[in-house]
Each structure stands twice: as structure tokens, then as C-alpha cells.
């Protein structure tokens, strides 16, 4: 569905005034290659300014790269804009594609004409999405009066009415409560499964990636740092597991042989370890009387942060 080979894009950034200033070349994306198969959901992660949105803009045909080959569904995005975008759907979190002052259904009707969706197909899709996303209660409400969650759902429907093969999602659930987040994720999973829509998801919300994508790509400073399964990212680069111990009384010496002492606060002491938890638990209980023990799994967020900060993967893409 998507093939990107040696993509490179630089920007000229002006510094100082229009007349006196000089300009600096900034490499937004340098030598990025990847491919995405039809029907995949890929999480695309990276801190702000890492090159994420530049990549997306190239893939959607908004930007022309300096060099490299890009093909989306057999087309070069920036060469044949109108044919290309007819097969895309996009939801860019903070921005709506709906007409602000028009009732939602009128916006959708306009999009039907813009995308030239045949009437029966449009009716069918509208019926499906209205049911799945529960659009019914606000189809007659103008976009400006929608809550954030409603607006997101309406925008998702708007992005999918023309049966796109590829869907770009940028922070699709940012700012929503847990229930609303889950409803949208469920919908994304559903259309991915039933319609084989390929999804490229950029987000800061790792929970989202965990729930939706099996594969992640991580970009920082314009280079891909990781491209592979989310599970193996965690196994390989995850930090140690954590043992949180509540002792009967504050131990005079919290240090336990074989365990890394992470911190102590009165009776509560935290240790780091790798592998199975049985042996470390036995050691701790042998050390002093224990009231309670919990094992904390490393968070993927911490893993990603470690990757950004430590350049853990800088040597090569896995």
C-alpha cells in the first residue's frame, strides 16, 4: 500500500529579519524507508518536530520531498494529487473538515459531491457509520456546537464516506474521556477488519498504539529509530520490572543482594529486577518481614522515553 524509499526533506529556515537574516537548512526527514501492507494498522511515533508530520504530508501529497521514492497505492502522491487524495481519508485531530456552521449531515452531503460517491453507496455508509459511531443524536447539529468527542466521530465518518483505502489518523482521541476513546478505537478496529482499510496512526498516546497497532515505527531527528512489532520493542528495550515492597517496619538496611535498589520511603521500598519475579520475592521476604508486595511492569511510555533520550536505537533500525 505504501512504499517509501530513502525519503529526504529539508526546509530552509530563516533566522533574523527578512533582509539581514540568513537561512539555515533544517533536515526534517533524512533517509527514511519503510513499507506498509494493505490492511495493516501502523503506529507512527515520535516527539514533536521529529519528522512525523513531514512524512505524513509527503504521503498525503501535501509536500514534495527533496529526494527519495514514495508510492502510495501505485501512485506518486504529489504528482497526481486529485486521483491520489480521492483514495485517502484523513482525520487530523484538532482540525475539522466539517463546515463549521452547517448541520453535520449537510457537511457529509457536500463531501458526497466533492468525492462523487454514488448515492446508494453514500446512503449505505452513512447508515453504517451512524449506527457504529452513534451519530444519530447530532446529525442535525452544526459542527461548532458539537462536543469534542462528537466532532471526532463526525470527522471519522466524513473521512470514510468515500471508502478510502488508506486512512491517516493524527491524535484521533486526544482530549477525550476513556469511554469516548474506547468507542473510537473500537470503530477504527472495526473498519480496519471489515473494510481492509490501511491505517497510519500518529499519536503521543501510547495506550492508543498498544490498543490498535501491532507494529510501530519510531522517528526522531528525522530518522527512523525503530520499525517492528510493539511487543519486541518492549522486550528488547523495556526497562527492568519493579518490585514494590511494603515492610512491616522500615528496614535498617533496605539493600537486598541481587536486586537493584530504586528508592526507599519509610516502610515502602522499590527494587528493580529482570526476568521472573519468584526469586526476587523470595529474597525480599527472607530479608525482613513483609506486609505487601506488588510487581510493576515497565511502561511502554518509559521505554519510548528512554529511546528518545538515550538514542538507544541510533545505531540502526531493528
Amino acid at each position: 500500500m505504501i512504499t517509501v524509499h530513502n525519503l529526504r526533506k529539508t526546509f530552509r529556515v530563516r533566522q533574523g529579519g527578512l533582509l539581514r537574516g540568513s537561512s539555515v537548512i533544517m533536515e526534517a526527514v533524512k533517509d527514511v524507508s519503510f513499507s506498509v501492507a494493505r490492511g495493516e494498522i501502523v503506529g507512527y511515533l515520535g516527539p514533536n518536530g521529529a519528522g512525523k508530520s513531514t512524512t505524513i504530508k509527503v504521503l498525503t501529497g501535501l509536500l514534495v520531498p527533496d529526494s527519495g521514492e514514495v508510492e502510495v497505492g501505485g501512485l506518486v502522491p504529489w504528482k497526481d494529487r486529485r486521483t491520489h487524495v480521492a483514495r485517502l481519508g484523513a482525520v487530523f485531530g484538532q482540525r475539522t473538515t466539517l463546515w463549521w456552521d452547517l448541520p453535520v449531515h449537510e457537511s457529509l452531503e457536500l463531501l458526497r459531491h466533492i468525492y462523487r460517491v454514488p448515492e446508494p453507496r453514500f446512503r449505505q455508509n452513512l447508515r453504517d457509520f451512524t449506527e457504529l459511531l452513534e451519530l444519530g443524536p447530532f446529525l442535525n447539529t452544526p459542527a461548532r456546537a458539537l462536543s469534542l468527542g462528537q466532532r471526532m466521530r463526525a470527522d471519522l465518518a466524513a473521512a470514510l464516506l468515500h471508502d478510502p483505502e488508506l486512512l491517516f489518523l493524527d491524535e484521533p482521541t486526544v482530549g477525550l474521556d476513556v469511554v469516548a476513546k474506547e468507542r473510537i478505537r473500537e470503530f477504527i478496529r472495526h473498519i480496519n477488519a471489515t473494510r481492509e482499510v490501511t491505517v497510519l496512526l500518529t499519536t503521543h498516546d501510547l495506550g492508543e498504539v498498544e490498543r490498535l497497532a501491532r507494529r510501530v515505527m519510531i522517528i526522531d531527528h528525522g530518522s527512523l529509530l525503530y520499525d517492528g512489532a510493539l511487543a519486541s520493542l518492549q522486550a528488547r528495550y523495556g526497562s527492568a520490572r519493579e518490585l514494590v515492597v511494603d515492610f512491616e517496619a522500615a528496614p535498617p538496611d533496605p539493600q537486598v543482594p541481587g536486586l537493584e535498589l530504586l528508592g526507599a520511603n519509610g516502610t515502602c521500598v522499590r527494587y528493580g529486577f529482570t526476568g521472573a519475579a519468584a526469586a526476587p520475592i523470595a529474597r525480599v521476604t527472607a530479608h525482613a518481614p513483609v506486609r505487601d508486595i506488588t510487581v510493576k511492569e515497565p511502561e511502554i511510555e518509559a521505554t519510548i522515553r528512554r529511546i528518545y533520550e538515550g538514542g538507544l536505537l541510533r545505531d540502526g533500525v531493528a
Binding site: V64, W78, R87, T97, L110, Y115, D163
Partner: protein
């Protein structure tokens, strides 16, 4: 459920007439959406409509009050000046209505907020979408006023109402709409690079409009020559009006020059759209 074997891409090999019809219909639907959006804000709509009508009225009132004191303006009676002024005002307001999407503040707002990308992400022609992105109906009061001033001008100046005169004046309006539309497109295109240059463009657009609202012979030799030969604004309304009033064109120009407005205007617009394409390509290079 299997993925429907239905490509949403444009129908292949569509006839020219069919796609023209589709674009017209889409343009109509987009304008209707704009109109419906504005209907939501009734009070502000009414105030805007009154306010913009006031501008035209005040300007026209100025020379209705002043002109009789001098008898005439370089030999132009109030009726004749009204004819010229009405033509220019009508064309300018119609242009403002149709080309609002290309207006620099609108366009730079789209670029900054990212909604310009929304247009680019849709499979309809970009310019059609920009044309359909703004349609300030509140300017309709100005259209009506301008048409009224023009009608007064036609009657008071004693134009003999032949089909030829009607065609000449209609062509003049059309030419001016295209000409000033072109200037507006250029101004809007400049915002792909910088917002600062837009003021300079406004001097041309609004200055040009004011300039051709009055008989050219009130200006000095230099201005007159500049706006005849360098910037061909005199062709737009001044020459056609001279012709319908049965006066000779200056510099011994042939009468043919009075018919050039519907040619000069579209040429300007075509040049502006060529520049627009350069701007859009530049946008594709920087994305900002």
C-alpha cells in the same frame, strides 16, 4: 463484509460537458453552503449588510453634493460620472463577492490554520474549492446600490440605449471583474511567501478601483498614460464609457480600443492564475 469493489476515484474519460456540469453544480453547492452558514448569524449579517452599503452611499454622496458646485468635473456631468462610478463599483463589488476566497486575509488564514491542507486533501479542483470557500452575501446590498447608481448614470447621461451600448457596458463590467479578480488572486498568492507584501497589493487593487471610478481626464498626463499603456486600466471602463457617450478616445486611439475590456480583464486573470500555480507549487515545497 468484503471491501466493496468500488473505486471512488474520478470516473475515467468523462466528457468535457459532463465535467463542466459537475463543476458548476459543485460550485453552486459550495456557495449555497456558504450562504446557509451566514444565515445562522442574522443580526451580524444585517449589520454587515447595512455597514457595507453605507460605504458606497457615503462615497457617492460626496460627489453628488460637491459636483453641482463646480457645474462639472472636467466637463463631466453628474450623470456621466455616475455612469463611470456605477460601473466600477458594480464590477468591484461583484468581484469581491466572487473572489472572496482569494482575498489575502482569508487565504493567509487558511494557510496558517491548516485548512488550506483540507482543500488539498479533497479531490475537487483547488481553485473551485477556494472560489467556494467564501461568498459574502452581505455585499449584496452594495451590488444593488451600485446597480442603482449605474442605472441613474445611464438615464441621466442620456446614453442612447442600443444593444451595442448594453453589450459594451456589460463587457466592461465583465472585464473589470476579471481584472480586479486577477489582482485579488495575485494578492492572495503572495501570502504563500509573506503577508507583508499584501498591503502593497491592496494599494494597487483599491487604488486602481478608486482611480477608474472617475474620468481619466481629471488626472495628469503621467497618471493617465501609466494607466492606459502600462497598466491598461483605462480600457476597462473609461474607454467604453467614452464610446457610449459618443466622445472620441484620447491620443487618437481607434474606437476598437473601447471594446477591449472583455479581453484585457481575462488576460490579467489568466496571468494571475499562472502566478497562483507557482504559489501553490511553492507551498508544496515548504508546506507553510
Amino acid at each position: 463484509m468484503a471491501r466493496p469493489e468500488l473505486s471512488p476515484s474520478l470516473p475515467e474519460k468523462e466528457g468535457v460537458a459532463a465535467s463542466a456540469l459537475y463543476y458548476l453544480r459543485l460550485y453552486y453547492l459550495l456557495l449555497r453552503a456558504q450562504a446557509r452558514s451566514q444565515a445562522v448569524y442574522r443580526v451580524s449579517f444585517a449589520l454587515d449588510a447595512l455597514g457595507s452599503a453605507f460605504i458606497t452611499l457615503a462615497e457617492f454622496a460626496a460627489f453628488v453634493l460637491v459636483l453641482p458646485r463646480f457645474g462639472s468635473l472636467s466637463g463631466w456631468t453628474l450623470g456621466e460620472v455616475s455612469l463611470l462610478y456605477g460601473l466600477a463599483e458594480l464590477a468591484f463589488v461583484l468581484m469581491d463577492l466572487a473572489f472572496g476566497g482569494f482575498d489575502a486575509p482569508n487565504l493567509s488564514q487558511h494557510v496558517r490554520s491548516g485548512s488550506f491542507n483540507t482543500f488539498l486533501l479533497r479531490p475537487a479542483p483547488l481553485r473551485l474549492q477556494i472560489f467556494g470557500s467564501d461568498f459574502a452575501l452581505r455585499r449584496v446590498t452594495r451590488v444593488v446600490l451600485a446597480a442603482g447608481i449605474l442605472a441613474y448614470g445611464v438615464m441621466a447621461s442620456g446614453v442612447i440605449w442600443t444593444p451595442e451600448a448594453a453589450l459594451l457596458l456589460a463587457g466592461s463590467v465583465l472585464g473589470m471583474v476579471a481584472f480586479f479578480g486577477g489582482l485579488s488572486v495575485i494578492g492572495g498568492t503572495l501570502t504563500f511567501w509573506t503577508v507583508e507584501s499584501v498591503e502593497a497589493m491592496n494599494v494597487l487593487t483599491y487604488g486602481g478601483r478608486t482611480l477608474i471610478s472617475y474620468p481619466m481626464d481629471i488626472y495628469g498626463q503621467f497618471l493617465r498614460k501609466t494607466f492606459t499603456y502600462l497598466i491598461p486600466a483605462a480600457f476597462l471602463s473609461y474607454f467604453p464609457v467614452l464610446h457610449v457617450l459618443g466622445r472620441p478616445l484620447p491620443d487618437g486611439l481607434p474606437m476598437l480600443a473601447a471594446y477591449l475590456s472583455p479581453l484585457v480583464g481575462p488576460l490579467m486573470l489568466a496571468a494571475a492564475f499562472a502566478f497562483w500555480r507557482v504559489g501553490v507549487r511553492h507551498y508544496g515545497g515548504t508546506g507553510t
